[in-house]
């Protein structure tokens, strides 16, 4: 069958009518496009609660988008990124995958991710907090969507604190312990606890070394310059943060095996009551079901200001999935809608990245009374803090921080020498 010119123009006019109407405002622009169809291959790791959340949001997306399908490939975290790297190198990556913010920069900077700026709905960025949106930028363009966050608060053993004479804990971010107040609490615990128990443990093991940055941010310091191209850790704030944290070890405020490269996680020490307090993200709350003691949570310490790491994960699309960009953009739009993000975060004890949810608050399914502390703590993160962690060189910087902080914590090297060595390492990493 051959089309005449008139038939072809008529068909084109009918085909473009919905777009023209949408442009004139006859079709609500917020309505999801039903035109995009196809299959999205989505690879992630997750706890049971997180995977249940993903399955739920995928089901609602497929229901709202007939013809669209999302295949969920859940893998263990330990295999996640060696698999993703191998798939990227082999040229057959998934369309979409989940990635921690501190790893995001390596993929975006390595030209492996899809630039979403032309595909996301207009005003899309406005739904997120500035710090969340900054965490998925590379060269001023979004290469992912901030799906959720998480940040450190303090979990404390009520009886251990009460036995040490600590009868109250801060109930708001503004009244959080200063560094010196926190140290005083820790020293009270040191005096009351037997020698084989410790005041607290810090969760900076492995890639969690980025959580050491909380101390730096609390003193209003930086580890990278504002253009992310040079080291900024060798500063008064950097040396103060190193000096304060390295004294945890000789003062026996943390267990000796709580160093950065330790294979024992801080949460384990809290669970077996080796420590009275632990720094932890809200994600660990569902795992505390089996604890045989009463515990609560309070805000992380502050110094010049309140500060916290921007933990959590983004969703990104690979460059190879460029042919499905519209469908993927619709999926990302759906996943970050208010209802979907609330359900996911409440079920998995994670923190939202949407401004409205941060303002209104959420209520965790497990231990809902702890939600306020974690959401409040996350609101202290600044875009200038989260933007540094999105550096394309963050993987190398993590190695530098691990090595240098271990030398200070275990090797006893001084703060000034450590800051200088860390700055040299970071300079080499960003070169």
């Amino acid at each position: 069958m051959t089309l005449t010119r008139r038939q072809a123009l008529g068909a084109a006019a009918v085909g473009t009518l919905p777009l023209a109407l949408a442009g004139c405002g006859f079709v609500p622009s917020a309505a999801p496009s039903k035109a995009a169809a196809g299959t999205i291959a989505f690879t992630t790791w997750g706890t049971d609660a997180e995977l249940a959340g993903f399955r739920s949001v995928i089901a609602s997306f497929e229901k709202a988008h007939p013809g669209a399908e999302v295949t969920l490939n859940a893998v263990p975290y330990e295999q996640m990124f060696t698999n993703i790297d191998a798939q990227l190198q082999a040229g057959n990556p998934p369309d979409v995958f989940r990635v921690p913010y501190y790893t995001f920069g390596s993929y975006a900077g390595g030209d492996q991710l899809l630039d979403l700026s032309k595909h996301l709905p207009s005003g899309f960025a406005d739904r997120f907090t500035p710090q969340a949106w900054a965490a998925v930028q590379q060269g001023g363009k979004p290469f992912g969507v901030p799906h959720h966050t998480d940040t450190n608060v303090i979990f404390y053993n009520r009886k251990a604190l009460s036995d040490a004479g600590v009868t109250s804990v801060p109930t708001s971010a503004d009244s959080a312990w200063t560094w010196s107040e926190f140290r005083a609490v820790a020293q009270k615990l040191r005096s009351s606890l037997p020698s084989n128990r410790y005041p607290f443990a810090y969760n900076w093991q492995g890639n969690g070394v980025t959580r050491w940055l909380n101390w730096l941010f609390q003193d209003d310091g930086r580890f990278l310059s504002s253009d992310l191209k040079s080291a900024a850790i060798d500063s008064t704030q950097g040396r103060a943060a190193i000096d304060f944290t390295r004294t945890f070890f000789p003062d026996r405020l943390v267990p000796k095996n709580d160093f950065v490269k330790s294979s024992t996680y801080a949460a384990d020490a809290f669970a077996n009551e080796s420590v009275a307090m632990v720094f932890s993200g809200a994600f660990a709350i569902p795992d505390t079901d089996g604890l045989k003691f009463e515990w609560g949570s309070t805000f992380s310490p502050r110094q010049a200001r309140g500060g916290s790491d921007f933990g959590g994960n983004a969703l990104v699309a690979t460059k190879a999935a460029g042919g499905k960009a519209e469908l993927i953009a619709e999926f990302f739009d759906h996943v970050t809608q208010e209802a979907q993000m609330r359900t996911f975060c409440e079920g998995a004890s994670l923190l939202p990245t949407r401004q409205d949810l941060v303002s209104d608050g959420i209520s965790f399914t497990v231990r809902p009374e702890l939600s306020k502390v974690s959401v409040g703590q996350a609101s202290l993160v600044r875009a200038s803090d989260s933007g540094q962690v999105a550096s394309p060189n963050m993987s190398k910087i993590i190695t530098v921080l691990q090595t240098q902080l271990d030398t200070a914590f275990v090797g006893g090297r001084g703060a000034a020498a450590t800051a200088t060595a860390a700055a040299a390492g970071i300079t080499a990493a960003v070169a």
Binding site: F81, D85, L88, D111, S262, T264, T407
Partner: protein, 304 residues
């Protein structure tokens, strides 16, 4: 004339030999194919990668021998090399010695011999990651079994995780636990092959128990020892999971070995060219060791 007459008689023999060669190559062809696909190709790929600067994404930049030059100036590489060498010497020596000792004991008429053999072989049946996790429960310096036992008998707790030397010892002990069963098993099998007549002859010549072991049994176990030495050394060079799970290479790189250091560079720092260079060095060292051992071992083919 004799030469002319002899020539036709050699042709059928040569044809038969060629047919035999062809059949032999036919039999080994599938293995050679698999070896080429899964060993030679990745090896060549690693060699090429080691000459590049690359984070693994996209094409790398050819830098010649720059990655190898960096190795010489990298103190962490030398630390990991020294750790690898020391753990290889300790694990290989101890697993050979203890393997022989346990094999000699369990070759004798001991009560519950089968049970004891099974207990020693058991770690071979468990994944090394699971074994390392058990090691973590034992060596945790706050809540571990070993420190609890030491303190129960009035001894001080040991810094199994935060002390460099104790952490290294914990890696050696767990690796030894994993390897002992295999060494014992091979020696046990080899002991079955030592003829009773040799032992009887030595006894009649007045050799005592120690002399029989020293001058008869141990030399007769030469091929087994040669096999175990090569396998144990190669295994020690490749130890990864025990270190990764038990200590993560810490504290302060005290337990980092070449493979964990290569992993750190390849998959954490994403300096894949440099990681490949470490892998090539490890391969060269292992091959050199195997060749030297092959050429210097006097007892590898010893039989009655």
């Amino acid at each position: 004339m004799t030469a002319v007459a002899a020539a036709p008689s050699r042709r059928p023999e040569r044809r038969r030999r060629h047919r035999g060669d062809a059949a032999a190559y036919g039999f080994i062809a599938p293995n050679l194919g698999l070896l080429a696909l899964f060993v030679v190709v990745p090896l060549v790929g690693t060699l090429v990668l080691s000459l590049q600067r690359t984070n693994g994404f996209g094409g790398g930049v050819f830098v010649g021998l720059e990655n190898y030059a960096r190795l010489f100036a990298d103190p962490l590489f030398w630390r990991a090399s020294a750790n690898t060498a020391l753990s290889t010497v300790l694990v290989t020596g101890l697993s050979l010695g203890l393997g022989l000792l346990t094999a000699l004991l369990l070759n004798a008429a001991l009560p519950a011999r089968a049970v004891l053999r099974s207990i020693l072989i058991l770690p071979m049946a468990v994944s090394s990651v699971a074994s390392a996790l058990i090691g973590k429960l034992v060596f945790d310096e706050n809540a571990g079994v070993l420190n609890a036992l030491l303190q129960a008998v009035g001894l001080p707790a040991v810094s199994w995780q935060s002390g460099g030397a104790p952490a290294f010892a914990s890696v050696v002990l767990v690796t030894l636990w994993l390897r002992l069963g295999f060494n014992m098993l091979i020696y046990l099998a080899a002991l079955q092959g030592v003829g009773r007549d040799l032992i009887e002859a030595a006894t009649l010549d007045g050799a005592g128990a120690r002399q029989r072991i020293r001058y008869v049994v141990v030399p007769m176990l030469g091929p087994a020892t040669f096999f175990l030495l090569v396998i144990d050394v190669v295994y020690s060079f490749q130890v990864f999971d025990v270190v990764f799970v038990l200590t993560g290479g810490g504290p302060q790189n005290a337990t980092d070995v070449l493979v964990t250091y290569a992993y750190q560079n390849g998959f954490v720092t994403r300096d894949q060219g440099y990681a490949a260079a470490i892998g090539v060095v490890l391969l060269v060292v292992a091959v050199v060791f195997a060749v030297v051992q092959w050429n210097t071992s006097r007892t590898r083919d010893l039989t009655e």
